[in-house]
């Protein structure tokens, strides 16, 4: 536990000092939203707020790839893995700390993205329920961060890691995005049934639980050389 806290503190301190990740993510998300808005053109978005909500999730996934690819970059570039791995602390603490830090970075980025989303895409005064969207984002971020930290550790020592990480991650993003999109789109008024928020959150919670267990158990194997 002390190791986890120290590792998390280290990750946050490094980001605070280096300011590498979060600014890049924010710029990316803003740029992507602008691109999508312009690319779809016109005053009215075909498909309306529903389509926009789907696109928001796509942008979220790609932004998280940005954060994950740079995970463990410091450890790799300065050979620090040897220091961490020869220490008696549980290796899974490294995973847990990185997942927590990524979760926080994603949260900060989305806090910037959401108001922009509203600004760019709000149409007919209708929008997805903020509560549902925020809850879905929180749970999705957690799942992405946990699985992502595991996969980031895996590709850390592999050649084409920038390309490989999105490829490895994408199949796992698909069920997540399917449910998240459905859930948030169905929260756009008028709500006429559709996927209840609780059901969607239930699925996301299941997703998170499975990858929490798998991440915890498998990280040890991924960092061993």
């Amino acid at each position: 536990m002390r190791a986890y806290r120290a590792l998390l503190r280290k990750d946050l301190l490094l980001e605070l000092r280096g300011r590498e990740l979060v600014p890049a993510m924010v710029v990316f998300v803003v740029g992507a939203l602008v691109l999508v808005r312009l690319g779809l053109g016109g005053e009215r978005l075909a498909g309306g707020t529903r389509a926009a909500t789907g696109l928001l999730w796509v942008v979220v996934v790609f932004t998280s790839m940005l954060a994950l690819v740079r995970s463990f970059a410091q450890e790799r570039e300065h050979g620090i893995w040897d220091g961490l791995l020869s220490a008696p602390a549980d290796r899974s603490a490294i995973w847990a700390a990185r997942a927590s830090a990524t979760f926080l970075f994603l949260g900060v980025t989305q806090a910037v993205a959401l108001p922009l989303f509203w600004l760019f895409f709000l149409q007919d005064g209708r929008s997805p329920s903020l509560a549902v969207l925020a809850a879905a984002l929180a749970l999705a971020d957690l799942g992405v961060a946990m699985l992502g930290a595991l996969l980031a550790g895996l590709v850390s020592n592999v050649r084409a890691r920038e390309v490989l990480l999105p490829v490895l991650f994408l199949p796992f993003a698909l069920p997540l995005v399917s449910v998240a999109v459905r859930m948030t789109v169905d929260s756009i008024p008028p709500q006429n049934g559709g996927l209840g928020a609780l059901h969607g959150l239930g699925f996301l919670a299941l997703y998170d639980t499975i990858f929490a267990l798998l991440g915890w158990a498998l990280f040890e194997y991924v960092v061993e050389d």
Binding site: R2, A3, R5, A6, L7, R9, K10, L13, L14, R17, G18, Q74, H78, G79, I80, W81, D82, G83, L84, L85, S86, A87, P88, A89, E224, D225
Partner: protein, 212 residues
Amino acid sequence: MSSPERAPAVRCDGLTRRYGERVALDAVSLTVAPGERLLLTGGNGAGKTTLLRVLATVLRPHAGEVAIDGHVLPRDARKVRPAIGYVGHEPLVYPALTARENLELYAALYGVGRERIEQVLELAGLNGRGADPAGELSRGLRQRLGLARAMLHSPSLLLLDEPTTGLDEDGRERLRGVLAAHRGAAVIATHEPDWFAGLEHGRLRLAAGKAA
């Protein structure tokens, strides 16, 4: 040879380690008795670093047996880690964190009290530089920080990879002091074995992964 009841500090029997299909260590055998210091010599790529990394439990052996204080690796790696102090080629510190912050991280990883941090900073002659980012320290000072990091938890086995590289006269004297005072065993890879005169108990030369 020390008394037969006590397990050797380090024992390797036919240790083999591959990188992909290339053999980095080829059936290396060695023994280090408790309290002894073994020098590893050999050219670049001979396998010295690989051997140290296996002993540091960072790499697992692919064949053969490795035991530290009687504990067999990799099965008992967790038991062994608190007793090992490893200094690699790199000082293993985060350049963006201060010297003290780096040591705080490792103190947490090793379950060591924070007072120890000041002690090792003193030992390494870095007391005034604790608040400096590690990246701003000179190579020699960073090397000293790496040594301080390895001494935090008072390990019984020291594994040092070219510890004299980049050290100035003062740094070298401190290293000599640390080694002389260290009562446990040590395995030291070096290109300057003669500098360790008076401190070494034996040498092992590696060539192309084999013990020569």
